[in-house]
Amino acid sequence: MIRRGLAIAAAILGVLALFDAPASRWRSSRRAAGATLHTIAPVELAEWIRDRKPDLRVIDLRSEEAFEEYHLPRAERFDSIAAAHLKSNETIVLVDGAVGERNVYVLRGGVRAWTDEVMNPTITANATPAARAAYDRASIVSRYFGGVPRIVDKLPATRVNAAAVRRRGC
């Protein structure tokens, strides 16, 4: 009886799994937060806009006057970028007016990585010299911003030492 119940439950949960979102959701949930930076040529961007590429946001970085004078079709401009309410699945194209290139960076791991690595750098008492050197470097800047570097007996459970598992196997 209980076997039948387990089998039915498994079958239902298995069939329902078929109605899953496309693979991109699993890929993005398995990678750490971050973004990939590219440059795009004008003609290709024009094709994206014409073809109504889904989830495309074209953000104009110039002043209000410049934007009013002329802007790309479907481009948007914000006084504060937060007002754009950018979503993680959107493709974002930044459009600038200056001649020459800007240096644009995206923080790998976002705010969570900042709090983990800058505000709360943590290390075990018997870590390797290389890890110790990285920790020392982080501690200096951590204290500058009022963070709390710590040396602990065991790293907290939620932060699995994935690097160790990767090296060692199971």
């Binding site: 387990l6 799994a17 899953d20 949930s29 065991k154 459970a157 699995v160 598992v165 199971c170």
Partner: protein, 179 residues
């Protein structure tokens, strides 16, 4: 929770469940490979299906963050060769590393000897490892998972594995009745 304390607690549940299933007894395990007792297959695949469905649905509902779970990495040739060797050793010994510990814990001298053999094998291989290192690191594919390998959705693989397991369980029941 202290991670090492959690490890002990998880281990206790693991060992308890293995013993309850009868997997602490070498003759029972060996029966798998003579088609007389397919408990190994039933337990292993019930566990895989349960955990797989749990991972899928808890991830989908946002309860489990899959990026924080370590996925064993793929090394094609070493895992193929290692698997073949492991299987041969398994049927000779009648116990695997985990079940040998359960067997030993319940008083079975053969379980303790399998543990000793395992330790010796690992020790010898580790000491003579330098010439093996190149092979060991070869054909690395990182955290390759079946959906990516087969270019299908995660949910499709989940459903397929559930279906194959349920069908296989039917076969297993019939096979056991015959022998």
């Amino acid at each position: 929770m202290n991670p090492l304390l959690a490890a002990v607690a998880i281990g206790i549940a693991f060992g308890w469940t293995l013993e309850r299933a009868g997997l602490g007894s070498a003759p029972k395990l060996a029966g798998q490979f003579y088609f007389t007792d397919l408990t190994v297959f039933k337990v292993m695949f019930s566990a895989i299906v349960t955990a797989m469905l749990g991972v899928f649905w808890l991830s989908r509902l946002g309860v489990l963050d899959l990026s924080r779970v370590y996925v064993p990495e793929t090394f094609l040739l070493p895992q193929l060769a290692g698997g073949l060797l492991f299987g041969a050793g398994f049927v000779i010994a009648g116990l695997c590393p985990g079940t040998s510990c359960v067997a030993a814990a319940t008083g079975r001298g053969d379980g303790a000897m399998v543990m000793f053999g395992m330790f010796s094998g690992v020790l010898a291989t580790g000491l003579a490892f330098a010439p093996l290192n190149h092979f060991y690191e070869s054909t690395a594919r990182g955290s390759l998972i079946l959906p990516d390998l087969l270019h299908v959705n995660y949910g499709v693989v989940v459903c397929a594995i559930v279906a194959m397991a349920l069908i296989a369980f039917q076969f297993a029941e019939r096979l056991e009745k015959r022998t």
